[in-house]
């Protein structure tokens, strides 16, 4: 029996191994004097790539909620923001504005995840029984409320400036900029892959089958003795906790949080990525997100070769993004790689 045969074959296990490898290599770059060289032209790719892997955790959580369970959460950014703010406020030292407590960052990250999960629990306890489109409105309104709270309570959340002075664990140990960027994308990418492994495990298990059954027909699922409300709440809280993790990681990578990072635009981006790729398929939603975030690269490069202003270009990109969403729903409701039959959009 060769070593190859003993390698696990499932998607989840492969993602777990790849993720662990990424984490180890990334950690190696960060803590040892090992150095990486990054050609200047690739900077922008790595930068967008880091945002992509962070958003990847968001889209995996959202897909657990919408793709698998059918919960229309249109305020996903609020859990991202709460995770980021909780982590930042606990870990930051001498922030210019707002609360900074200076606790060790692993503790802060943990609190960030728990805070987001708790908010998810509160939202689902109150609103999970609402009809789909009204759940969308409540979650959206929740996100808007938190956004204005973050902006307006300057003494606590730092207002428009946000929380500065958040420790950056990777930047603290990495030698130079190139090494730091490589280590960051590897470590966070590793976390995203491990997340992928975890959600794959979850949805391939009988548990995931119950979630998909709820999406397909809640009444039937209840009639076979499954407490659908409990399952829906759990799926919602898992998704919120993942968003909180993404938020905490974002705060520790970025070194600062501010309301400007957590606008409705984040929610829209991950929703479009998920629908474009094909909801209820973990790898498809990541691929869809990659396509949408790839557009950012295109517009960055396009910006340098065309004589128009950045504002015009951003507006143009958003027109395209909006029309993509419309076109996907109209012509390919299951997304590019989704399964129309499973999603119940067979037409």
């Amino acid at each position: 029996m060769s070593a190859l045969d003993r390698l696990p074959s499932g998607d989840g296990d492969r993602a777990l191994i790849a993720g662990t490898l990424c984490l180890l290599v990334g950690g190696l770059f960060a803590v040892t004097p090992l150095q990486a060289q990054l050609p200047g032209a690739l900077y922008v790719f790595v930068e967008v790539g880091i945002t992509f892997v962070i958003f990847g955790m968001l889209v995996l959580g959202l897909d657990l909620q919408y793709g698998h369970t059918g919960l229309v959460n249109f305020g996903h950014v609020v859990f991202f923001a709460v995770g980021a703010y909780a982590t930042a406020m606990l870990a930051a030292q001498d922030s210019f504005a707002g609360i900074s407590l200076g606790y060790p960052w692993p503790l802060a990250l943990l609190v960030g995840v728990v805070a987001a999960a708790l908010l998810g629990l509160v939202v689902s306890a109150t609103s999970i029984r609402l009809r789909d489109d009204f759940l969308a409105i409540v979650t959206l309104a929740t996100a808007e409320i938190f956004h204005s709270v973050f902006v307006n309570f300057e003494g606590i959340f730092g207002g428009n400036v946000g929380i500065l002075g958040v420790p950056r664990p990777i930047a603290a140990v990495a030698g130079d900029t190139d090494t730091r960027m490589i280590a960051t994308i590897l470590v966070i990418g590793g976390l995203t892959l491990i997340t992928l492994a975890a959600v794959t495990r979850l949805t391939e298990a009988p548990y995931g089958r119950v979630l998909r059954a709820i999406r397909a027909d809640e009444l039937v699922t209840r009639s076979v003795g499954k407490s659908t409300i409990v399952y829906k709440t759990q799926a919602f809280v898992y998704g919120a906790a993942l968003a909180g993790l993404a938020g905490g990681v974002f705060a520790l990578y970025n070194g600062a949080v501010a309301p400007g990072f957590f606008t409705i635009q984040v929610t829209v981006t991950i929703w479009i990525g998920m629908l474009l790729g094909g909801a209820a398929n973990h790898r498809a939603v990541l691929a869809g997100l990659a396509v949408i975030m790839g557009l950012r690269l295109v517009s960055r490069f396009g910006l340098s070769v065309t004589p128009v202003s950045g504002d015009v270009f951003a507006a143009f990109r958003l027109v395209v993004v909006g029309l993509i969403l419309v076109a996907v729903i109209r012509f390919r409701p299951a997304g590019i790689w989704g399964d129309p039959q499973e999603l119940g959009v067979d037409r």
């Binding site: 109150t126 029984r129 489109d133 808007e144 409320i145 204005s148 507006a315 029309l323 969403l325």
Partner: protein, 304 residues
Amino acid sequence: MGLAQNIVFGIVTGSYIAIAAIGFTLIYGIVNMINFAYGEYLTLGAFVGFLSASAVPLPLPIAVVVAMIGGGIISIVLARGFFTPINDTGPVPMLLTSIGLGIAIRNAIRLVGGRGARYIETETTTFRFDGVPDVAIGSVDLLGGFFVTSEHLVVFGSAVAVFLSIHALLTRTDVGIAMRAMGDDESLARVRGIDTQLIRDSVWVLAGVLAGLAGVLMAIQTNVSSTTGFSHILQILSAAILGGAGSPYGAIIGAYVIGLALALSTAFLPSSMTGLSSAVAFAILIAVLLVKPSGIAGTEVREA
């Protein structure tokens, strides 16, 4: 500034939100979708009004009528192009489509018109009521002098005119009665020989006309920019749901509740937190959905 002044502001805000919320709630009740792009209809209406008042230039009342007609045409064209083809897919795909369409339109306007705000020139008369005594409780003045401008009166007057004509339309005309029938039960309406697609189209036109009017009133009150409508969509939505989604009369009440809540929270919140007033509107919305999801006069929106 006294409470009386804030109530005036609240009623004015409530008036244009009410006009828009009626259109929004009619679409919800009859097409069965939450139209998140509705704010953009307001923006487009406001721009049509602005262009015809300043570029052509037409007298303001005619510009308002042009904006209303423009709003109606825009609404039916967009509905035919984007919403009618997916009418049978259910509320969530329709909501998502409207979100995508809203992003596209908003940024297309930004692309053409830039970010800047534009103002419609109007002649304003201000009526002051300074003789009213102050009734101070703590830092809050419960009465106080206030003023009303002719713009305020125009906005409020248009709103009342809209309420009366909508009431007449829904109770006195065949189209209006058919709309109400469809809102109650679409299949039954069809069995009775109502051309449901025609009624749906007339609702789109009506909602567009109302959006055009609300947009141009906002433009007269404040200014026109690419985010004019979007910045109000959540308030419109809150008003419609507060009133009971699908009910035009509920939407009117809901709109004034939201308008007054916004104005009063500006009055009572400390000055550093006036930005929270929009959060107050959403908090009301969430509270309504939790306590009485059917709103003041509407249907059940809970599943289980």
